[in-house]
């Protein structure tokens, strides 16, 4: 096991720069998830750690060794690919044993490690099958088995669950997390699915267009998103954003351009009239008699909660209530954002205003 350090790493394909100076520190044994929309450079960054792409600038360290010029096989990392990349002409056992056979490891050791990995992943009965004869989830497990057998310093996962159906994905999510708790191997995991990131990570790195937008523990990102991008990306359904101005004073408030005055706990000094974006998560609305009056547009009950799209002025807001809502579209309800849980962002830069 080892720590991983990424220092001011850049990547250009020809003249197009896709990673613009990224700094990430990953501690020994940590489970870090790189998350961001498709095309933001997550895979590229991961492949640079693996050594499958060369590094255009900056430094990658694994343990205390700079690996920029170390060939992939000497970096002591194992990677699980999105399409699993199982060798189709080898049985499950041979797939898992391949790296050790290449190293001319003694046969008993190979067998022992393969059967141990197979035991961890519940693959004992499938060892003689070929990849074609496996289901998606089983292939996924074999790919992980191949990584486990290596007993590497670092596990790298590139969207390992995106080829699975929704139910299996939830199950594998738990399995991977359990696996990590058991092996405690430093893990870098790439996904575009923020729910995966929230549920699995020790630390989330949110990437966007080749830069790191924010880095931190899942709930830290949820509670204090550093900017509009992270605020919108983390959480499902997404945070509501309302444009408007701060009204400072004894009882500060937020006046929306689209109509309506929203509650604020505090306003920074001298911020009166400042154009901002007011952010409130759907789950942070309450039904309250003294709330803002809103016109119901859509009601979607899911049983455990009710999702309501409502309009304040001309602004549509998504709200989630624990209560069951009987209101019909067109009717008026009174909703109150919890002023302790609202977020205010600079309208120009998108940065969080404390």
């Amino acid at each position: 096991m080892a720590s991983v350090e990424i220092r001011d790493v850049r990547k250009a394909f020809g003249s197009t720069q896709v990673i613009h100076g990224v700094n990430i520190e990953i501690e020994d044994g940590e489970f870090v998830i790189l998350v961001g929309p498709s095309g933001c450079g997550k895979s590229t960054l991961l492949r640079m750690i693996a050594g499958l792409e060369n590094i255009s600038g900056g430094e990658v360290r694994i343990g205390d060794r700079v690996v920029n010029d170390v060939p992939p096989k000497e970096r002591d990392i194992a990677m699980v690919f999105q399409n699993y990349a199982l060798y189709p002409h080898m049985t499950v056992a041979d797939n898992m044993a391949f790296s050790m056979k290449l190293r001319n490891a003694p046969k008993p050791e190979i067998e022992q490690r393969v059967s141990k990995a197979a035991g961890i992943l519940g693959l004992e009965k499938l060892l003689d099958r070929y990849p074609r004869q496996l289901s998606g989830g089983q292939r996924q497990r074999v790919a992980m088995g191949r990584a486990i057998v290596r007993d590497p310093q670092v596990f790298l996962f590139d969207e390992p669950l995106s080829n699975l159906d929704a139910k299996l994905r939830v199950q594998m999510r738990t399995e991977i997390k359990e696996l990590h708790q058991r092996l405690k191997t430093t893990t870098v995991y790439v996904t575009h699915d923020q729910i995966e990131a929230m549920t699995m990570a020790d630390k989330i790195v949110v990437m966007h267009d080749g830069i790191v937008e924010q880095m931190g523990a899942p709930l830290e990102l949820y509670d204090r998103p550093a900017n509009l991008f992270v605020a919108g990306f983390i959480g499902s359904p997404s945070m509501n954003f309302v444009k408007g101005k701060i009204r400072a004073g004894a009882q500060p408030s937020f006046e929306a351009d689209t109509g309506g005055v929203y509650p604020l706990n505090t306003a920074p000094a001298g911020s009166d009239g400042m154009p901002v974006v007011y952010g409130i998560r759907p789950e942070h609305f309450q039904l309250a008699d003294n709330g803002l009056s809103a016109e119901v547009v859509v009601v979607e009950p899911t049983g455990s909660e009710t999702q309501v799209v409502a309009k304040i002025g001309t602004q549509e807001l998504v709200c989630i209530f624990r209560e069951r809502i009987t209101a019909k579209p067109g009717e008026t309800i009174r909703i109150a954002p919890d002023p302790n849980l609202v977020h205010v962002f600079d309208a120009q830069s998108g940065a969080r205003i404390s």
Binding site: K73, N83, F98, Y130, P131, Q133
Partner: protein, 324 residues
């Protein structure tokens, strides 16, 4: 009237299917009907000439004379190699054919595979190079044979000329006049023509291998050679089996190139079974004898097909998933 009427249908209304009905609508027979046109064409254009050829080999037919059945006499004339009075020219042609096929196929495979791997790399002008590689395949055989004829000409050969000017030799090489030189020259020409087919087919096969397999193998610690040995080659074996079967069959039955360049000479030293058969049947007019030589090719071809049939049987890893 939506309630069930089962059991109330008067018995005579159910007509038992006749054998003709079965022929018309039974699933298995339906398959036969769909196959019938193709089968008819195959019988007409493949099986019939083949059967006719085999039949001719049992007669003493000559051009312009129908001939009569003479049993195995034509084959007795050919004899077996250890018979004192066997047909030496025929057995020389068998030897030539085997040498020609084996040497040319092995070299074509090696060069073709090498080219395919080369073309699969990220080369500059990749598309252009790929089309250039195809040229020998596109040029009509006779045309390329004539070109080779000049290249191997005893007086004007560009090879002799170049080597002479480089000071490596001081005489013209007698490419097509010396038996072994002639064989080598023909094999070379055949390789030149056959390599593109193999290279392009194997290239197509290479391109179906997912790059992430190489990446996975590289991370597993495989060198370039081990990548080839343990990933590329095993994944390529099915397509190698197909392409080499075709290559062997085409080389074994080659006619055009030989006929255009040497006509089997000098002194029969480059006759293949195909050219000898043509010479005896058409030029000398002994249809029965020529047919016997041609028929003698069949066991060899069957053998090659059997080898590839068993080689081609889809490997276990190619078969899909019967989940238990």
């Amino acid at each position: 009237m939506s309630d069930s009427v089962a059991g109330r249908v008067p018995a005579p209304a159910v007509r038992h299917p006749t054998w003709w009905d079965r022929l018309r609508i039974n699933r298995n027979w339906l398959g036969f009907w769909f196959m019938a046109p193709a089968a008819a064409i195959l019988i007409l254009f493949l099986a019939f000439p083949l059967g006719k050829g085999v039949w001719l080999s049992f007669t003493d037919a000559k051009i312009g004379r129908a001939g009569s059945f003479i049993g195995l006499e034509n084959y007795e004339w050919l004899g077996l190699p250890w018979w004192r009075d066997s047909d030496g020219v025929f057995w020389l042609s068998v030897f030539n054919t085997l040498v020609y096929t084996i040497v040319a196929s092995i070299v074509k495979f090696a060069v073709g595979l090498y080219l395919a791997i080369l073309l699969n790399q990220n080369l500059p002008f990749k598309a252009a190079i790929r089309s250039i590689v195809l040229i020998p395949f596109v040029v009509p055989t006779v045309l390329s044979a004539i070109a080779f004829w000049w290249i191997f000409d005893s007086q004007f050969s560009i090879i002799s000329w170049s080597l002479r000017h480089l000071g490596i030799i001081d005489y013209n090489i007698n490419f097509l006049g010396d038996p072994n030189n002639a064989r080598a020259s023909l094999i070379f020409a055949n390789i030149w023509r056959g390599v593109p087919f193999i290279a392009i087919t194997l290239l197509a096969g290479l391109q179906t291998v997912s790059p992430s397999l190489y990446e996975a193998a590289t991370l597993d610690g495989a060198s370039k050679w081990q990548n080839f040995r343990f990933v590329t080659f095993p994944l390529l074996t099915p397509i190698i089996a197909v392409v080499m079967t075709f290559s062997v069959l085409f080389t074994f039955t080659d006619f055009q190139l030989i006929w255009a360049m040497t006509r089997g000479g000098p002194v029969n030293s480059t006759h293949l079974m195909a050219t000898l058969s043509y010479q005896r049947a058409i030029l000398a007019g002994n249809l029965g004898e020529g047919a016997a030589i041609a028929t003698a090719m069949v066991p060899f071809l069957l053998f090659a097909i059997m080898v590839s049939w068993f080689g081609l049987q889809s490997r276990k890893w190619q078969q899909g998933g019967e989940d238990s």
